[in-house]
Amino acid sequence: MARDQVSAPPEPLSLEKIRKRQDWQRRSILLPALIFAIVMTQVPFLVTIGYSTFNWNLLKPNDFAFVGFDNYVTVFTSGDLWPSIVATVLITTLAVVLSLVIGLFFAILLDRSFRGQAIARTLLITPFLIMPAAASLIWKYSMFDTNIGVINWVVSSLSLPPIEWSTDYPLATVVIVLVWQFTPFMMLILLAGLQSQSKEILEAASVDGAGVWRTFQWITLPHLRTYIEISVLLGTIILLQVFDPIAIMTKGTGGTKTLSYLLYERAFIGLNVGEAAAYGVIAVVLTILVASAALRTMFKVFLDGGGK
C-alpha cells in the first residue's frame, strides 16, 4: 500500500487549484493598505461629522455641548457659505476650462515636428512642476506687483494705466496662476492623446480631401474625448481643494474665499471647531456632487485599464 502511494504520480497542479489555494493570501495582501487608508482618512472623516454636531470653540472650553444640527443652521444662515461655494465653483470652473482650452492649443502646436520640439515641451511642462507656494509667491511679487511687477512694466510700456492686480482683480490673479500651473498638465495628457492617433486614418482623411478643420472636428476631437474627460476630472478634483494661492496671494479677499480657505479661517484663526467641521462636511458633499457625475463616466475608463 505504502509503495503504491509513493509510486503514484503526484497530482498535477492545475492553475485553478493554485489559485484557490492562494485566494485568501492574494486578497490579504491588500489589507495593510486598506486598514491604513481607513484609519487615516475614513475614521477622521466620521470624527469630523461628529465634531460638526458639537458647540466647540477652543476659546470657550466651558461651552462645549452637543447641539445637533445647530452648526449647520449657523453655517447656512451666516451668509458666508454661499459666496464661498460660488468662489470654489467659479475658480475651479474657470481654471479647468481655460487650462483645458490653452492646453489643447499647445498640444496641437507641439504635436507637429519642428526644431527643438522636445525642448519646447520640456520648458512648457515646467510650471506644473513648480511648488504651488513658490508659484504664488513668484507671481505675486515679480509678475503682479504694481511697482516692480513685470506685467505692469509691459502695461506701462504700452502707455496704459497700471493695473492694481491685488486690490482690483484678486480672483483673476488666483485663476491666472492656476491656469499657468494646470495648462501643462492638460497639455501633457492631450498631447499623449494626439500622438496615439492612427496615422493611417489621418492620411486617409487627407486623401479623401477632408480639410484640416473637418479632420480635427470629426476625427481628432472624438478620439480625444477620453483624454479630455480624464484631464477635466483630475483637474477638477485637485482644483476643488485649492488653497495655496489663496492663502499666499489674496487671503480670501475679493471673492476668492473658497471652502478650504473658509474652513481654515474658522478652525485655525477663529478656533471654532464645530462650525469648521460643518464646513468640512459641506465641502465633502460639494466635492462628491461635482465629481460623481464625472466619475461615473470615468470609472468605466479606469476599470478598462485605459483609453483606446
Partner: protein, 269 residues
C-alpha cells in the same frame, strides 16, 4: 507652405517662452542684488550675486528642506510598501469585490483634505506629535496612497498573464511571483508612481502649514512666511523659491514620459 510652417514654429516658440518666462525670471532674480531685482525697467543684464541665497540660508532654509526631504521620502517609501501588494491584489482576477474596493480607494482621493484635518490636528495634539516630521510623513502617505494604488494597478494590468501563470505552475509562491517575476517588469511604472508621490508631498502646503510650526516645518510654509516679512526681498524670495523647486523640476524633466502615464492614472498609454 514652408513659410507657413516656419511661422507656426515661430509662434509656438514665442508662446512657450512667454509661458516659461516666470520660471526664467525666478532663476534670474535669484542671482540679483535686491536693487537689481526690484528695478523697473527689469534688468536682464546684471552682476550676479549670491546675496539672495545667503539670506534664504541664514533664515534656516537648509533645515526646512531637510524636513521636506525626510517627509517626502518617508511617505514615498511607506506608500510603495503598502501600494505594491495592495495594487497587485486588485489587479488579479477582477471580481465584483475588487471593483468595490477600487471604488473605495478612488473615492478617498475625492475626500477634501479639509474633511480630515480637524480630527488629525486634535489627535496629533493629544498625542504630542504636532510639529513632528514623522507624523507629517504618515499623513502624506495616507492622502497619496489611493492615487498610488490606482496608478500602480494600471501598470500591473499590463504584465502578460502567461508570464504570471508560468511562474505559478513552476510552484513559485505569491511572494516569489511578485518580487521575482512581476516587479522587475513594472519597475519603470513603480518609479513613476514614486516620483509623483514624492512631488505631491514635496509641494504640499496646506497640511504642512497646519501640522507643523517650527521643528518640523517644511519648505512650502517657509516660503509662505516671506509674505509676512517686512520690506520686499524679491531676490531672496526668488533664491529660496529656486532652491525649493529645482529638485522637482529636474526630476520632472528627466522623467517626462513616466510622469504623463502616472498622472493620467494609467488611462493614457
Amino acid at each position: 507652405m514652408k513659410i507657413k510652417a516656419a511661422l507656426i514654429t515661430a509662434m509656438t516658440w514665442v508662446l512657450v517662452l512667454v509661458f516659461f518666462f516666470p520660471v526664467l525670471w525666478m532663476f534670474l532674480n535669484a542671482f540679483k542684488s535686491e536693487n537689481d531685482a526690484s528695478s523697473i525697467p527689469p534688468k536682464f543684464l546684471f552682476t550676479p550675486t549670491l546675496e539672495g541665497f545667503q539670506l534664504a540660508w541664514d533664515r534656516g532654509m537648509a533645515t526646512y528642506m531637510a524636513n521636506s526631504l525626510f517627509a517626502s521620502v518617508g511617505a514615498t517609501l511607506l506608500i510603495l510598501l503598502l501600494a505594491v501588494p495592495g495594487a497587485y491584489a486588485l489587479s488579479i482576477r477582477p471580481v465584483k469585490k475588487t471593483q468595490d474596493t477600487l471604488f473605495f480607494f478612488i473615492s478617498t482621493r475625492f475626500l477634501p483634505v479639509a474633511a480630515v484635518i480637524l480630527p488629525l490636528y486634535m489627535i496629533f495634539k493629544s498625542l504630542g506629535v504636532l510639529d513632528n516630521i514623522i507624523a507629517l510623513g504618515f499623513v502624506y502617505a495616507a492622502i497619496n496612497l489611493p492615487i498610488a494604488i490606482w496608478m500602480m494597478r494600471s501598470f500591473f494590468l499590463e504584465v502578460p498573464r502567461e508570464i504570471v501563470e508560468a511562474a505559478q505552475l513552476d510552484g513559485a509562491g505569491l511572494y516569489k511571483e511578485l518580487t521575482k517575476v512581476v516587479l522587475p517588469l513594472v519597475l519603470p511604472g513603480i518609479a513613476a508612481v514614486g516620483l509623483i508621490v514624492f512631488i505631491f508631498s514635496w509641494n504640499e502646503y496646506f497640511l504642512a502649514t497646519l501640522l507643523t510650526t517650527s521643528d518640523a516645518k517644511t519648505t512650502p510654509p517657509f516660503l509662505a512666511s516671506f509674505v509676512d516679512g517686512r520690506g520686499l526681498f524679491l531676490g531672496a524670495i526668488s533664491a529660496a523659491a529656486s532652491l525649493a523647486t529645482l529638485p522637482v523640476i529636474i526630476a520632472g524633466w528627466v522623467a517626462q514620459k513616466q510622469l504623463v502615464r502616472g498622472l493620467a492614472m494609467g488611462a493614457v498609454k
